[in-house]
Each structure stands twice: as structure tokens, then as C-alpha cells.
């Protein structure tokens, strides 16, 4: 039995977990749900030993436990199967199962016989007839996951944490996984099943804990609660104070897309964007929203579909340069990896997309650059000492403002903001919402992608629900309630 007592953990600017307390009973399958940013993965990392420094206590079977490393946690019987699989492609199934703890004979020679025997035992127990000699790289993702589970079993784990285990599995493979889980539970192993998929939780778990914004909201036995109640606990907050007041007025048609398709990512995407409005795209991770955005922006290639921008029929963009020059800008969800150049200065970052505007023929006009950059710095009240500072020295919120300024400098009228407030503190979030409001007040249009449902509900004028690459339903602001939207996202209610 695991007892989590007043556990908190913070990172610069973000309180990931705030005084979380609950218990997991012995031998049960315990579900942990919450939206992105709710604190699930932080808790997993704490339990796994990746973050040994946290506030609070964790007791396992009554004994206080604070794991200093992953290895330490494994030695104490706790194994984690992460969403990103950690198997080594080149090695065989058996070698992966025994990674780091291979049984050896004299001289460091692998005891292959023992490995094969034990692997076969464990595989048989899971009813997965994999050949221990197969190279893991040749297996499907579902089978690779089975190898990871075997690894946990061979370590004599009594607790197994599964982080979003079904994100890459087919329906059928999910069924098989559930069979495995039941088998594990029957053996007495405690399983912490972390997921945002409510229907799965209700199928396989014995009880469920809900997190929201780093806090523990509730722990209930499955039979004593309903999906609706869980959803309500996941998203319910007072929305009124978090968002600046917004009046929207529909202007001219800015962007219109029909029949967008990219196989494996999305299909049949139709929507319109009018000036002055913010349309929100809600969905779970993997729904395909970012993929749509990137294809519209020209970062990836569209296989089919039509686009009309500013009433001029445009061919789909083949390069971000085309989109930017036509007035469509994209704010990437990966701020560090695609939004900034950390080693360069604020000024250089901001002017990157408008170099031709600040130059005369080939040469950059330094004065013009400074002028434009400082106008936005003061407009958004970014806190810095000088525009020649390195951009990595800024806080997340200020960094985001710089990137938004960069886009605004391109004088675009259609913006795609992909998770713009991810990893940003509450105060800065508010400022970004305000910026979005101001933009639309000027007649511009914003496509707003976010995995935080309250945000979408609080800001967007219309909400599109996406799941597995398709738009399922469109809500207007009045009709959208957290439960209704969630139900569509999770349960596949058709439009």
C-alpha cells in the first residue's frame, strides 16, 4: 500500500504539485487522471526516483521511502513504464528484459540459458508468445511495451506505474493490455494507471484519483462514482476571474479551409475563421491539432484540401516563408525547440522573420531594427535590461511575449497559437490572453490550440473538438460546457 502525504514540488515559475495526499491500496489497479499540467507526470517521476528532492513524504507498506534514483526505486520493487518506451532496439527481447542486471557466468559471459528460461517464464505468464531471441526493434509498439512489462516483472516489482500506456495502441492491443493488467493484479501487483482517457479508467481500474492544477481533488472507488463526476472534477474551476473580459465581433472571412488531409495525421478538416474572433481547437494529445496547424502554415505538406486566405484562393503553403509573407503566422507549441534561438539576443530573435523589412537591399539597418524591437518591448512591457540580452535569460512568459512580438512584426492577420500558455505562470497567462483579445479587437483572427480545456472555454468564441485527426463537433461559446466538450473528446460523440 502506497501512502502519499502532502507531497509538493515546484519548478521555476510553476507549482507542479501542491500538497497532494492520497493512498493506493495493495493489489489494486488505481487510476490517476487529470489534464495536461495537472501534475500526473510529476508524481510519476517522484515515485520513480527521477526527482528525489520534493516536499512531503511517501510511505510504501508503512515504511518511509524516498528514492534517490531510478535504480533505487527498482531495487525497492517499483518499476515504471513510461509513455516513451525505453527499450533498446538492437538488443533481443531477453537482453532488454535483463538490461543492467544480466545474469552472468564466469568472466562476465552472459548466462543466456538462464535469461531465456526466465524470459520465457515471464512471457508465458503474460500469455505473450514472443521469442526471447527476437531483436526488439522488429517488434510492434504493443509488443515492445510487453517487453517493458516483462522487465518490471523480472525485477520482482510489486508496484508498476503505467504512464499513458495506450497512447500508441490499437483497440485490439488495448484489450490485450487490459488482460495483462488483470493478470498482474491477480498476482498481487499494485498498478498505478495514469491516463487522461476516462473510459479506460472506468474499464480497468478499481479506484480513481483526480488531479487538477497540481492539487488532489478526490479519490473514489470506481463503483462509487461516474464518468461525469470525474470529468467535472478534472475541469471544474471558477472560470470568471481567470480571463480578461472579451467582446467579440465577427468581421470579414479571413481563412477558409476545406477537406484538409494528411494521411496518418488528420482528414476532412473544414473550418472558417473570421476577423475579430478566436476559434479554439480542443482535444487530447494526439488528436492532430498541431499537425493541422503545421500543414496550414506550410511546415508540412498537405496531401489534399483547399485553402482560401483573405478571399484570395491560395494553394496550400509549401514553406513557412510563403505563409508569413501572405499574412499567416504560427506560434509553435515547442517554445524552446522551435520558437527561440537561445544563444542569440532578444533583438535577433524578434527580427528573424522580418529581416527584409529592416533592410535596404542586402544590408540590415540596425537603427530600424532597434526601433521596431523596442516598440514591441515597451508595448508588451517585457522586463529586461536591454534588447541585446540573450533570450535564454528571460522567464517563460517573457520569452513567449518576444515570440508573439516576432509574429506581430510580420503584420499577419491570421494567427495560429499552439499551446501559447504552456509552462507559464498564471500572471503571464493573463497577459497573453489580453494580447489575444487586443489582436482580435483590431480585426485579426486567431486559431487557438490548447490542451487546457478551461482556457479554450474561457477565451474562444467557437470551439472545435478534435479526436484522432477529425473534427467531431463545433460548439459556440454559450453551448460549450466542460462536461459536454470532454464527453465529445473522450467518448466520440458525433457532430
Amino acid at each position: 500500500m502506497i501512502s502519499i502525504e502532502h507531497v509538493s514540488k515546484s519548478f521555476p515559475g510553476v507549482q507542479a504539485l501542491d500538497g497532494v495526499s492520497f493512498s493506493i491500496a495493495d493489489g489494486e489497479v488505481h487510476g490517476l487522471v487529470g489534464e495536461n499540467g495537472a501534475g500526473k507526470s510529476t508524481l510519476i517521476k517522484i515515485l520513480s526516483g527521477i526527482y528525489p528532492d520534493y516536499v512531503g513524504n511517501i510511505r510504501i507498506d508503512g515504511k518511509p521511502s524516498r528514492f534517490t534514483s531510478v535504480h533505487d526505486a527498482q531495487n525497492h520493487g517499483l518499476a515504471t513504464i513510461f509513455q516513451e518506451l525505453t527499450v533498446i532496439q538492437e538488443l533481443s527481447v531477453a537482453e532488454n528484459i535483463f538490461l543492467g542486471r544480466e545474469p552472468v557466468r564466469l568472466g562476465g559471459i552472459l548466462d543466456r540459458e538462464a535469461m531465456r528460461r526466465r524470459s520465457t517464464e515471464v512471457l508465458e505468464f503474460l500469455d505473450a508468445p514472443l521469442d526471447p531471441r527476437t531483436s526488439v526493434g522488429k517488434l510492434s509498439v504493443a509488443n515492445q511495451q510487453i517487453v517493458e512489462i516483462c522487465k518490471a516483472l523480472v525485477l520482482d516489482s510489486r508496484i508498476i506505474i503505467m504512464d499513458e500506456p495506450t497512447s500508441s495502441l490499437t483497440e485490439h492491443e488495448v484489450r490485450q493490455l487490459f488482460l495483462l493488467i488483470r493478470r498482474l493484479r491477480d498476482k498481487g501487483i499494485t498498478i498505478l494507471y495514469v491516463s487522461h482517457k476516462i473510459e479506460e479508467i472506468f474499464e480497468i481500474c478499481d479506484s480513481v484519483t483526480v488531479f487538477r492544477d497540481g492539487k488532489h481533488i478526490g479519490t473514489m472507488e470506481k463503483d462509487r462514482t461516474t464518468a461525469d463526476e470525474v470529468i467535472r472534477m478534472m475541469v471544474g474551476r471558477s472560470l470568471s476571474t481567470m480571463f480578461p473580459p472579451r467582446t467579440s465581433s465577427k468581421g470579414e472571412l479571413l481563412l477558409s479551409v476545406r477537406g484538409l488531409r494528411r494521411s496518418g495525421e488528420f482528414q476532412d478538416i473544414d473550418f472558417d475563421l473570421y476577423g475579430g474572433e478566436i476559434i479554439g481547437f480542443a482535444g487530447l494529445i494526439g488528436a492532430g491539432r498541431t499537425e493541422v496547424a503545421r500543414a496550414v502554415f506550410g511546415a508540412t505538406k498537405l496531401e489534399a484540401g483547399e485553402m482560401t486566405l483573405y478571399n484570395r484562393h491560395s494553394r496550400p503553403f509549401r514553406h513557412p516563408d510563403q505563409a508569413l509573407s501572405q499574412g499567416l503566422a504560427y506560434l509553435s507549441e515547442d517554445r524552446k525547440g522551435e520558437g527561440l534561438m537561445l544563444q542569440l539576443t532578444i533583438r535577433e530573435n524578434m527580427s528573424l522573420s522580418i529581416l527584409h523589412k529592416i533592410s535596404r537591399s542586402l544590408f540590415i539597418q540596425s537603427s530600424k531594427e532597434r526601433e521596431l524591437v523596442s516598440s514591441f518591448i515597451s508595448k508588451f512591457k517585457v522586463k529586461l535590461s536591454s534588447m541585446d540580452q540573450l533570450v535564454e535569460s528571460l522567464s517563460g512568459g517573457n520569452q513567449q511575449k518576444i515570440i508573439i512580438s516576432k509574429l506581430l512584426l510580420t503584420e499577419a492577420r491570421v494567427f495560429i497559437f499552439d499551446e501559447p500558455t504552456r509552462g507559464i505562470d498564471v500572471g503571464a497567462k493573463y497577459e497573453i490572453y489580453k494580447i489575444m483579445n487586443d489582436l482580435t479587437a483590431e480585426g485579426k483572427g486567431i486559431i487557438f490550440i490548447s490542451s487546457e480545456l478551461p482556457e479554450v472555454l474561457g477565451i474562444a468564441d467557437r470551439i472545435f473538438c478534435m479526436r484522432e485527426g477529425r473534427i467531431l463537433k463545433e460548439f459556440s461559446r454559450q453551448d460549450a460546457s466542460p462536461e459536454a466538450v470532454m464527453r465529445v473528446l473522450l467518448g466520440g460523440e458525433a457532430a
Binding site: 524516498r66 544563444q343 535577433e348 528573424l352 542586402l362 535590461s385
Partner: protein, 333 residues
Amino acid sequence: MNNRVFNPRATSQVRTLLILAAVNIIIMVALSFLSRTFLTYGNMTAVMMRMSELAMLAIAETIVIISGGFDLSVGATMALSGAVAGTLYVAGISFPVAFTIALAAGVAVGALNAFLVVALRLQPFIVTVATMSMVRSVVYALLKGNVLTEFPEGFLNLGYVYLLKIPVIFLIVAATAVLVIILLRRTIVGRRIFAIGANERTAFISGIHVKRIKFLVYCLAGLICALGGLLFTARIRAIIPDAGLNAPLEVITAVLIGGTLITGGKGSVIGSLLGILAMFLLVNGFNLLGLNPFWEVIILGIILIYVVGQESISRSFGALINRRKSDRPISTS
């Protein structure tokens, strides 16, 4: 808002340059005391001349590394241009035409590198190792292993023409350096090169045609190396098949010492040139002092590891010392 030119990055970069310049000056001062002939016009111009081709290679390599790439084929390209020019001239082609084709050959090598790195997305290190041996092989084949020495009068003297008492070769190098510096610091293309080196994905999402610019970078590097090869030929009045054989390592060392980051996005042509100068001063100094010039390579190796790893070195040695203290395990209570 503060408009003072306070730039932390420029400060640390300027600091590196100043240190490097100071080192150079110290060496020069020391050597001028130890040897009568060091600070003479004759010696100084000899040093500058000998530096010229490596300086060109360093300029080329700096551009490539700033863009996030890597080019080991610089020495081979340098040899190629000489070989091409010489072979064509011997075959009766007029000198200016041979000269132009030689430069084009350098661009061609750059284009080959660019194709493999950009279009096929192969790792620059291995690609340029391969192209290096390919180009070197072409050089040997063209020259059949011989050294060529037939040249038109005018060209032969180029190495010894002086403009206001400065060797023309040196002026060409300086002009190239100035042009490249202007390109990198003041033009749109230059800014984009830095951007690509700093974060290629961001550059792409910001609308930069990454592939095109990388292509340009490698071709330009090829051109500059080819030009350097012609200068080399003018200087020694011969075409050697082994020209530039050891160049890649020396050049890359100089570029990294000069403050250019191996990962790209940050760099300085002046730093690279100071690095080359430091190398030559050391060798020259050692020669004059009768010391074994190979101390230079040793020192360079140490400096290289130190410069690239300075932060990490102080951190890890500090940690090594502190590890004794914090070896107590975090309590499992």
C-alpha cells in the same frame, strides 16, 4: 528601455577575442626580446605570407561551423584548385580561364558537400571525411603525383608583389575576411546563417529557407578554399599534391579556439584569424628559439580541449572535489 549597448554575449565573445589578442601580443613581445630578427619587416611579412592560405581556410570553416555544419574537406579543396589551374594551364588554356575554372571546381566541391548534407541529410563529419578523400584522390590523379612548376610570369610574381609595402596576397586575405565579416554581421543572409546554426528548427518555422542557405554556405566555403589554394600556389610557386593535408585539423582547432561554438550560432572570423596567428607565432617563435616546434601542437591540443570545455571543466573538477563532502546519501526517511 535601456539602449545602452550591453550585450552579455558580445561581452564574453569580446573577452575571448581580447584574451586571444593579448596572448598573441605577449608572444610577439616575448619573442621580440628573445630574438633580434623577430619584429623585423622581413620576418613579419614572412609570417603573414605563410599564414595566408590557412587563414582563408579558417574563414571558410568559420562560416560553415557557424551555420551548424562541419567541413573537413577544406584542405583537399585548396589542393584541388591549384591542381586544376595548373593542369589546365599546362594543357594550353589561358591563365584567367584556368583560374576561373579552378574557382568553379572549389564551388563544385562545396556543392557536393551541400548536396550530401542537405539533400540526403547525412552527417557533415562523415560526409566531409568522404569528400575529402575523394577530392584528394582527384588531385593526385590530375597531378599524377608530381609537383608542377610551370606558370605564367605574372602569376608567379603575384606572391611577391607588394602594394604599399604589403604583400598582395595578404591584402587578398584581408579583403576576403572583411567581406565575410560584413556578410555575417550586416547582411540578411549572415543573420540567417547564425540563426540556422543556433536552432535550425526555429529558423525554418520563422520562414528561413534552411536548405538554400546551407547550400550557399558550403559553396561559399568551397570558393574561398579554392581561392586560398590559388594564393598558396602563388606563394610557393608550385602545385603540390599534398597541399593542405594537415590543414583540416589545424584550421578547426584555430576556429574553435577563436570562440566559434562547435554547435553553431556563435562565432567570429576575427577570432579564427587570431587563432591561426597564434599558431603561427608559436611555431615561428619556437623556430627562432631553437625549440622543438612540436610543442605547438601539444599546446594547441590542450588549449582546444580547455576552450571548448571550459565551463564543464571547472564544473566537473569542482564537483570532483566536493563529491567527498556530499557523498552522504540522501536519507531514505
